[in-house]
């Protein structure tokens, strides 16, 4: 087989992807006179992202679950055109789209007797993602994950140098509704699906260098240390304000200009001013009204008045309750800063996150003047605007503050609040934070280094995981980041990918939706017996193959297409990402599945077992220990025994044992 063009290089499968190998072998074995209908899934996404296609044969994708039906239509059309005898039709999909959502269409195709080969690429799970409200650190500051676009510069953790680097975002993937869990450390929290990988400190014992490993959320134990962001100092700079067209007296509706100077770029003074504005200010742009709800006597009033004169070279007016800094130009200026409108919608804009430390601190000081108070050595900031609190929390984290969680409380209806009785129960939140003391690393170097491996690192620290809990089903997204394959979401370093249980997920497998835990050792059911289900339809050919045995797979595909009628081949395809093994371990892993008897390779022709790959069975542990998804089983002899029984049953059922 020359590098023929039926499945071309340049697709975007992960390195060492078993499915890419199998798909290529299948189409090469079937030849150029083939039409393929493909379900939605990894294979479809990595092989045909517009305007690229890896397929050298006519190929169609419609939906997640209907390739068997689409192929039925193709076959019917070919019969109508009188071309069926010369063209092979293949329907293919992953295990989920075959055994779960697509089972009905597959069953219909088999029962109707279409001359189609159905190939199931069985990677034993749905592959994975972050909750939509995650905030991601980018070159332009903090952005919602939903706002990230391909090409954006995203901050990532360089796994060799442990430094903060900017990498390009090369993909935004919508992963749909998934169950999400909240991971909390003392100062951070993030929502992600259970299979989302995080960077965890691995202690390699006394005298050895510690390293970092990726662990999925479900593998993380309370007490593990995740890598979090502590500072941004390296890349920070003042923000250049957008120039606005200044209004002049005599312009439309402008009778009176309250002349002010506008600063060119941010400085601590203006940041403190804006901090107060976010807490107590309002603006009505059309009227050029800027006001602050600062009653006479409040400390912030004098500070604001002073700042206003200093920065804008203009005077404020005030009454008992309010301070007014009315100016058309000031209103337009503030309008460009993306601070949001109204108490519930004010926000800390992305650019604030990229300011130098002193400016950020001045901003926080301003916020505190408006809505904060001290409580002993700790500070407390109160707001009914939860998004604002969340962003403030992340801002404080980039300043290396210790920040507690967001506490939510409810003020009952009727409580007097800003001189008015509340009309209904109203929710508000607060966060407490304090400056982190510097550890004396010179005096106690090793102790502190043990506590925080990254203590000398300007940008990152490790923090202990304090809890992981389910937060229900939410829409999720994921990003693909070039080079480092990680990014910083909600202040925590996360890997850019994800695995959910399907009907073909093996017994005791740890996936997102069948996590192992105190009361579970993973997926509670054995694999759905798809080959048997297909056999029960009375079809002429059913086979199991493996990407680990390429010649066997090729032979089975060739045999299948030589037979008229519906055929089913299920190919075991390792997924380095989902199964958690090294990319170059694709072959050993695939082979061990067969050699332990867990994935028997057999052939049925017209309902009779006509072929099987015989083995000298190896213990199932040898297979299980090669992959992260079974790691939780290795100290659990009882569960291993159950899995060994599955293998033993297979060996007996298909008479796999090689007689010496």
């Amino acid at each position: 087989m020359e590098n023929s063009p039926l499945f071309k290089s340049g697709h975007t499968a992960c390195a060492g992807c078993g499915q890419a190998i199998a798909a290529r072998l299948v189409v090469e074995a079937s030849g150029a006179n083939t039409i393929i209908a493909n379900n939605t899934g990894c294979l479809e996404v990595f092989s045909t992202k517009y305007p690229e296609t890896a397929w050298g044969v006519p190929w169609i994708h419609s939906l997640f679950e209907n390739s068997a039906a689409v192929a039925s239509g193709i076959e019917a059309a070919l019969i109508y055109l009188g071309k069926k005898d010369t063209i092979n039709v293949i329907a293919q999909g992953g295990d989920g789209s075959t055994a779960d959502i697509g089972l009905q269409a597959l069953s219909g195709m088999l029962e109707r007797g279409h001359d189609i080969l159905y190939v199931c690429y069985d990677n034993e799970a749905y592959m994975n993602c972050l909750s939509l409200d995650s905030l991601v650190m980018t070159k332009d500051g903090l952005k919602k994950i939903t706002e990230i676009k391909i090409g954006d510069g995203i901050y990532a953790f360089d796994q060799n140098t442990h430094q903060l680097v900017i990498k390009e975002c090369s993909g935004v993937l919508d992963n749909g509704l998934k169950e999400v869990f909240e991971l909390k450390t003392l100062h951070h929290s993030i929502k992600a699906t259970a299979n989302h990988p995080f960077l965890i400190l691995k202690r390699n014992g006394r005298g050895k260098q510690n390293t970092f490993v990726w662990k999925t959320l479900e593998e993380i134990k309370i007490g593990d240390r995740v890598v979090t962001l502590k500072g941004m100092n390296g890349d920070c700079r003042p923000f250049k304000f957008q120039e606005i067209k200044k209004a002049e007296k005599g312009d439309y509706k402008v009778n009176n200009i309250n002349a002010i100077n506008l600063p060119r770029e941010s400085n601590p003074g203006i940041m403190k001013y804006l901090g107060i504005f976010i807490g107590d200010g309002w603006r009505r742009k059309g009227r050029g009204e800027i006001g602050f709800a600062l009653p006479a006597g409040k400390k912030a009033r004098n500070i604001l008045t002073g700042l206003h004169e200093k920065i804008f070279g203009s005077k404020v007016t005030s009454d008992e309750q309010y301070v007014y800094a009315n100016s058309v130009n000031l209103a337009s200026f503030i309008d460009t800063l993306e601070l949001g409108q109204g108490a519930k919608h004010k926000t800390i804009p992305a650019w604030v996150f990229m300011l130098p430390q002193e400016q950020k601190e001045a901003f926080v000081e301003g916020l505190m003047l408006a809505d904060g108070y001290d409580r002993g050595t700790s500070k407390r900031y109160v707001s009914a605007n939860l998004d604002l609190l969340k962003r403030l929390r992340l801002l404080l984290q980039t300043l290396d503050y210790r920040v507690g969680k967001i506490h939510i409380q409810v003020k009952k209806k009727g409580t007097i609040c800003v001189r008015r009785a509340l009309l209904k129960d109203s929710e508000y939140g607060y966060i407490c934070f304090s400056k982190r003391e510097k550890w004396n690393t010179e005096k106690y170097p090793s102790q502190y280094r043990y506590q925080d491996f990254l203590i000398d690192n300007k940008f990152f620290r490790t923090e202990e995981v304090t809890s992981v809990e389910s937060k229900g089903v939410e829409p999720t997204l994921d990003l693909r980041v070039e080079g480092e394959h990680n990014f910083i979401a909600d202040g925590i370093v996360v890997h850019n990918t994800g695995v959910q249980r399907s009907g073909l997920t093996p017994f005791d497998t740890n996936t997102t939706t069948s996590p192992s835990g105190a009361r579970s050792s993973g997926n509670i059911r054995p694999k759905k017996p798809m080959p048997e289900i297909c056999l029960a339809h009375g079809i002429p050919y059913v086979a199991c193959a493996s990407a680990g045995f390429p010649q066997d797979l090729t032979r089975k595909v060739k045999k299948a297409i030589s037979i008229k009628g519906p055929k089913y081949i299920q190919v075991h395809v390792p997924c380095p990402l989902g199964w958690r093994h090294e990319t170059n371990q694709m072959l050993p892993v695939a082979k061990l599945a067969v050699e332990t008897g867990l994935y028997p390779l057999f052939e049925y022709e017209n309902g009779v077992l006509t072929g099987r790959k015989q083995i000298t069975p190896k213990p199932v542990e040898e297979y299980l220990k090669t992959q992260g998804r079974f790691k939780h089983l290795l100290n659990n002899p009882e569960e291993i025994k159950k899995i060994q029984e599955i293998a033993d049953n297979n060996i007996k059922k298909y008479n796999l044992r090689l007689e010496v």
Partner: protein, 90 residues
Amino acid sequence: MFGPLNVKPAESKGDKTGSWRTQVRPHYLHKDCIACRMCLLICPEGCVHGKEKNAFWADYNFCKGCGVCADICPKKDIAMVAEESKGEDK
């Protein structure tokens, strides 16, 4: 008409996925090759070329450095070498 997003394979050049390699690449030693073609068969990218003994090569424009070819080679005639070591490859 824009919309059906139909693509002819001849018009698709694919992504140059060779840039994904971070650590290692396969180095075809061309010493003990028996032209069994297993490397060509197993490559997930389909980027291994060659017909004759000791004449197989991987297209580094596309090779993602997974190492499966080195693993399957029965004569151990493919070595995974560090990405930095340039010069000796094809």
